[in-house]
């Protein structure tokens, strides 16, 4: 579980007043979280970078409308998720994921895209060891439904609490839990199928 450092209320107020330094501070504190959510949701570094910048531009333009500074993190995450949903739809329309098929290896941090070599005779455990786990997981995540991926990214990769997720997704905690479990089980199935 990872959590980004909390942004102080005072910094947000200064940012609302048009202080560029305060905005820079906000970007530096939350860029990693925004960028990683974007990357895990889209599976592409360039797209994630562009999307994260768009998110901060939206923050820059509309932070003055934020009424409750204490909810800045949730607000920022909400903006990020909305941008991710829109970008995902856009990329799907453009058949971005068809040309770069979901079965293809996922672009890694260093830009290389190695294809996972699957040997059916191998034990799954050995297979998992062979593969870069992160690539494997990323591939699995991208094969999930968008809302399932959101749940896994928020809970298992970003460490959001059920309550926070309930607020973000406007769902009761019980629903979040059951949906999250279903997402995990689906991911397990996907990974097993990929390994075979």
């Amino acid at each position: 579980m990872k959590t980004s450092p909390k942004i102080q209320k005072e910094v947000i107020e200064r940012c609302k007043a048009g202080d560029e330094k305060a905005f820079t501070e906000i970007v530096l504190r939350s860029q990693k979280k925004v960028f990683n959510i974007a990357y895990r949701m889209l599976g592409n570094l360039e797209e994630a970078k562009d999307l994260a910048q768009e998110v901060f531009i939206s923050v820059f333009e509309s932070v003055k409308d934020l009424k409750e500074e204490i909810k800045f993190d949730a607000w920022l995450t909400q903006i990020t998720l909305n941008h991710c949903r829109n970008r995902w739809k856009y990329l799907k329309r453009r058949r971005y994921f068809n040309s770069d098929s979901l079965d293809d290896p996922i672009e890694t941090g260093d830009g290389s895209m190695p294809r996972a070599i699957v040997d059916p005779s191998d034990n799954p455990e050995i297979l998992y060891e062979k593969k870069s786990i992160q690539q494997f997981i990323q591939r699995g995540l991208l094969k999930l439904k968008e809302d399932q991926r959101e749940l896994l990214v928020l809970r298992d990769l970003q460490g959001f609490s059920y309550e926070e997720m309930g607020e973000l997704l406007c769902l009761p905690v019980g629903t979040i839990k059951s949906k999250l479990h279903r997402s995990r089980m689906d991911l397990k199935e996907i990974l097993e199928r990929s390994a075979q």
Partner: protein, 357 residues
């Protein structure tokens, strides 16, 4: 508890959210069910992998690029704002401005539509005359000029020698536009004289004929809107004069006496002898006195007979029948009151031919 329900608790078991009693039941089932145990292992492995996924580092230059994008957006916004500024103005400003603009457009349209009909008709006339004389036909224009000069020469010969001096300034050879301008000046002078003093007819007619042609050419060469109007007016007069509306043939025994009587009659009716050739006379008379003149002409002498031929525009001319006058009338309008085309001018042009019995 069946396997499906046990598997639904895997997330809760992994996150240690189950109450001890519930956890105990699940553990018992797992120990007795290798399938569910295997499933739990795989599930646990997936969860471990998920949790081991590390954050990716933000690419270098993220912040400077972000600021660059923000600047670009600002510029684009300002450009868009300046473009769509009109939409931001309040209605209290926009409505009067639009009303003023609309009124301006309406006035402009009205002004143009008032101007257009006459302008268009004149331009059409100009096109009709000017179109054959395009730049390609400049040599033809020169030829036509020469021809006009020749015509003037012939007119000079036919005109009375005593009046030659008076029209010399009209005939004086000139070249190009200067010639045309001189003719125009002469024309205006003569018109002024015509109003004040009785001008020698032959001179006037000859000059008018020349003017009409010259004016037509001048109009062709310089079809300016103001000048064109004047030239058209100047053109119409001599055309009327050069085409006598009435033609009367007098059969006479004594030529000298008949000419004398004719001159007297013309003077009496305040008319003018336009041209006097051997047996051919063109007389300009006030329209009102034309019928009386015709009567008198018919009764010049017992031996005198008149042949009257209607002119080319019979519908506009009607002359009362008189004894001894042979008439050819056009249409059924012979009994209409005297109304001539020259009414506009106030005079009627009559061609009188003398023939010996």
């Amino acid at each position: 508890m069946d396997c499906e329900k046990i598997r639904d608790r895997f997330s809760s078991l992994w996150e240690k959210e189950l109450v001890p009693s519930e956890e105990k039941i699940i553990r018992e089932h797992l120990s007795s069910c290798p399938r569910c145990q295997k499933e739990l292992e795989r599930f646990g492995k997936t969860m471990e992998w998920l949790c081991t996924v590390e954050d990716v580092e933000v690419p270098e230059g993220f912040l400077p690029e972000l600021y660059k994008k923000i600047e670009e957006r600002k510029m684009a916004f300002l450009a868009g704002k300046s473009r769509g500024r009109w939409f931001l103005f309040p209605l209290s400003f926009k409505l009067p401005a639009q009303a003023i603009a609309m009124a301006g457009i309406v006035f402009l349209v009205l002004y143009l539509t008032q101007m257009m009909p006459t302008e268009v008709s004149r331009q059409k006339g100009a096109e009709q005359t000017s179109s054959p004389l395009s730049e390609e036909r400049k040599p033809e224009q020169l030829f036509a000029k020469k021809k006009t000069e020749d015509e003037r020469g012939t007119l000079d010969i036919t005109a009375e020698t005593t009046r030659r001096k008076d029209i010399e300034h009209v005939q004086a050879p000139a070249s190009g536009k200067k010639e045309i301008e001189d003719i125009r000046i002469a024309q205006t002078k003569e018109e002024a004289k015509k109003e004040e003093l009785p001008v020698p007819k032959s001179e006037m007619m000859a000059s008018q004929q020349i003017k009409s042609k010259e004016a037509a050419r001048a109009g062709i060469q310089t079809p300016g809107p103001g000048e064109f109007e004047k030239e058209l007016a100047a053109k119409e007069k001599p055309v009327l004069a050069s085409k006598p509306s009435q033609e009367i043939t007098l059969r006479i025994a004594d030529r000298e006496q008949a000419i004398f009587q004719l001159q007297e009659l013309v003077k009496h009716f305040r008319g003018e002898m336009v041209t006097e050739e051997e047996n051919r006379f063109i007389v300009s008379l006030p329209t009102i006195s034309f019928s009386e003149f015709e009567k008198e002409l018919g009764g010049l002498s017992a031996s005198t007979q008149t042949d009257k031929v209607m002119a080319k525009k019979p519908s506009t001319f009607s002359v009362r029948a008189s004894p001894g006058v042979k008439r050819e009338e056009g249409g059924g309008r012979s009994k209409e009151p005297v109304k001539l085309t020259a009414d506009q001018e106030g005079c009627t042009v009559v061609l009188i031919l003398l023939t010996k019995e």
